[in-house]
């Protein structure tokens, strides 16, 4: 692979940093992040003018920044590949795809959060700035190719997430969720760092590429130990069982728009990190990490979907369901084939729309009623057909009912798994999908089937529907947009398939792993 050769040369040339000052940084690769950064700073400056000005100007600034970032990302697609920042960052198609998912999830989370933040008296300017900082960290994490930049961007994402989780500071639950998230997250970061320091000691370098080569030549027990450490942190970030314990608590306690971002944006960044670290760096331990991930995937799908059955809180149910969904995505990771990786990317994109659509409905319901108990949704279709329709479509899609977007994502994942002989994973996936359909349908049944007199007290005293309040129109746009994409995207999913396939085709890292895997299966 010629690009790889150039990359290696650059890595070796790094022996004398003083002589490299005349080399191009190729900083254009992080132009999208630059747009996000500018939006973040502008948000902070506008916020100085007071809350009124912030409420008026912060939303358009954020839309402009994230929109620019998405346009710039689209322009980078299939661009010639050159490592930027002397090997700290690589804008391959994989990175671009995941960065787009992250940026889009932030945009949608922001659209649905204005009304919520204002109504609860949280300062909006700082909220948007911290969320944009988290986006910045997550986007850079997707493309980092160096242990130090992986660590710093991971921590930017994490620290911002802790702050956002605790943003409702008068609510003890929110603070408690933040404290738990912080303690568990910092411990996970320390464990990751210990693994990273061992990798540095083994290979004498911090570049993931060079570490991968060093591990190939000398796989020692210590390397296996550092694999376990690094893998634990990755599993924490994507909330795989048994590293999931923080998820239900943090999801239940945090402000709902923040949960929307955490469940999609943060998770997408975690999967990008998993691909970079495991596929790019631990190629020498291919069988070992695949075995570990098979176990994690089976546990996640089983526990996530089974425990979700017993939940009474909507947010908590979606937390467990997101654990199960992460298990499905891991099937693609374990396959390691072209189809497997493409299915991962496709499913993350589908998950973005259906999950955020569901969260938009939940937020709208809780703004109007102040409740998130599943039983309070009883009889809702009489009072609010929009929420009922939107939530039903999104939940059906999450459950994988045709012809929704989620069905095609899931079927693609299962096909990829079956073609790669991962029979156990596919069977567990199918069975737990059926389980998940059961609890998704029971919510829909609660909303639709109940007679008017059986409706919950909350629904009986439902307020009249108003869309004119400031912050409501963006919420409606996000809700309708997500639901439309979820419903129609399934039928028109061909462009998405092509997009996911070209994301994999344009990523040398994945192509190398695929070629290696197919050689192994032939030989």
């Amino acid at each position: 692979m010629p690009e790889m050769g150039v990359f290696l040369l650059a890595t070796q040339a790094m022996a004398a940093p003083g002589e490299l000052l005349n080399l191009a940084l190729n900083a254009g690769a992080i132009a999208p992040e630059g747009a996000v950064l500018v939006a973040m700073l502008a948000t902070l400056l506008v916020d100085l003018a007071g809350e009124q000005a912030a409420a008026r100007w912060v939303p358009p600034i954020c839309y402009a920044g994230l929109g620019t970032a998405l346009v710039l990302l689209a322009q980078q697609w299939n661009a010639p590949l050159e490592p930027s920042f002397l090997g700290a960052f690589l804008a391959d198609n994989l990175a671009i795809a995941f960065r787009a998912v992250v940026a889009l999830s932030t945009l949608l989370s922001l659209l649905i959060s204005w009304r919520y933040a204002e109504q609860s008296g949280a300062p909006i300017g700082e909220y948007a700035a911290i969320l944009l900082a988290a986006t910045l960290g997550a986007m850079l994490l997707c493309g980092s190719t160096d242990l130090v930049s992986v660590f710093v961007s991971l921590e930017t994402l994490s620290v911002a997430s802790y702050l956002l989780a605790g943003y409702m500071k008068r609510d003890a639950r929110s603070s408690e969720a933040a404290l738990k998230y912080l303690l568990v997250g910092s411990a996970a970061a320390a464990v990751f760092l210990y693994g990273a320091s061992l990798l540095y000691g083994l290979s004498g370098t911090t570049s993931l590429q060079a570490i991968g080569i060093a591990l190939l030549t000398s796989p020692t027990p210590l390397a296996a130990l550092s694999l376990v450490f690094v893998l634990a942190t990755v599993a924490f970030k994507i909330a795989a069982v048994p590293f999931h314990q923080w998820t239900p608590d943090v999801y239940e306690g945090s402000p709902t728009p923040v949960v929307a971002f955490l469940s999609v944006g943060s998770k997408a960044a975690g999967f990008a990190l998993a691909l970079r670290l495991l596929v790019g760096c631990f190629g020498a331990f291919d069988t070992q990490w695949k075995l570990l991930f098979t176990v994690l995937a089976v546990l996640s799908m089983t526990l996530g979907n089974v425990v979700a059955l017993a939940q009474t809180s909507m947010k908590r149910m979606l937390a467990y369901s997101s654990i199960g969904q992460a298990g499905f995505v891991m099937i693609g990771l374990v396959c390691g084939t072209e189809d497997g990786f493409a299915a991962m990317v496709l499913y993350m994109a589908a998950y973005l729309f259906m999950n955020l659509g569901a969260f938009a409905c939940i937020i709208l319901f809780s703004i109007r009623t102040g409740s998130d108990r599943i039983s309070d949704y009883a009889g809702l279709y009489q009072k609010d057909p929009l929420i009922t329709l939107g939530l039903s479509l999104c939940l059906l899609s999450l459950g994988g009912i045709p012809p929704m977007l989620g069905f095609f994502g899931k079927i693609y994942l299962f096909f990829a798994g079956w073609a790669d002989h991962q029979y156990l994973l596919v069977v567990v996936g199918l069975v737990t999908s059926v389980v998940s359909i059961y609890y998704y349908i029971s919510v829909i049944k609660m909303m639709v089937v109940k007679e008017p007199k059986e409706a919950s007290d909350v629904v009986k005293s439902y307020p009249s529907i108003q869309w004119s309040t400031i912050g409501m129109p963006p919420l409606r746009i996000a809700l309708v947009g997500c639901v439309v994409v979820t419903a129609v995207g399934g039928i028109l999913s061909n462009p998405l398939f092509q997009w996911a396939n070209s994301a994999v085709a344009g990523t040398p890292l994945l192509q190398e792993a695929i070629a290696l895997g197919s050689q192994r299966s032939i030989g």
Binding site: M14, P17, G18, L20, L21, L25, I30, M40, L44, E51, Q52, A55, F85, L86, G87, A88, F89, W114, E118, Q119, S120, G121, P123, E126, A129, I130, A133, L136, G137, L140, D146, V148, S149, F151, V152, S153, T156, V159, A160, L163, Y167, K169, R170, D171, A172, A178, L202, G204, T220, P221, L222, L225, T256, K315, S366, G370, D372, T469, I470, G471
Partner: protein, 200 residues
């Protein structure tokens, strides 16, 4: 054995003992204030180890940031939340502690074995010695430029966020509508959260 090397060995042993005993004190002592001061001692001893490794810049940063900022911050926090609390005894606590102690000891044995058996690439190239500070600066502005710039965003965001969370006041009115804010907006109506039943 020259004087330099034996001094190095003695320094290492003394600093190592301080680190291990101090950190044991941090996790074992009953009074949290003693723990905080011992933590400062551990940080200083670690800075001493960095000096032994010829890393004067990082040693200075360790003293300034860890002892000067983090440790003082922790002490402030202890003073601010310093209410004498009689912790309720928990059943099976000693067993839990022993069990986790066993797990940690097992982890250490694993590390020990792996560290001893791994063939390290020592002795590596000659160490840089006094030029280290300059070299760190070169690194920060060449191959570690991206994390360096990102760290500035991280610090800015942490500062703003910490201020927002730690300050006492919140907005009283909804900026959009002018109504009173509703901090109990979400799922708080039924469960009175701030009343802890175990509080007397």
């Amino acid at each position: 054995m020259t004087i330099a090397t034996s001094t190095e060995l003695i320094c290492f042993l003394v600093l190592g003992a301080v680190v291990v005993l101090g950190s044991l004190g941090v996790v074992l002592l009953g009074n949290i204030v003693y723990s905080a001061f011992l933590l400062g001692g551990v940080f200083m001893a670690v800075a001493g180890l960095y000096l032994l490794l010829n890393a004067s810049f990082v040693a200075a940063a360790q003293v300034l940031v860890y002892v000067g900022a983090v440790n003082v911050l922790i002490l402030f926090a202890i003073m601010l939340v310093n209410k004498r609390e009689d912790l309720k005894p928990i059943e099976g606590l000693p067993i839990r502690r022993l069990l986790s102690g066993g797990v940690c000891a097992g982890l250490f044995v694993l590390f020990f074995r792996v560290v001893i058996t791994t063939p390290w690439a020592v002795p590596g190239p000659a160490a840089i010695g006094v030029g280290a500070t300059e070299r760190i600066g070169e690194h920060l502005f060449t191959d570690y430029l991206l994390p360096f710039e990102l760290a500035s965003v991280l610090l800015l965001m942490a500062m703003i966020g910490a201020i927002v969370l730690a300050r006492r006041d919140v907005l009283e009115v909804d900026v959009g509508t002018g109504d009173a804010v509703n901090q109990g907006l979400i799922e708080k109506a039924r469960t009175p959260l701030l009343v802890d039943k175990s509080t007397p």
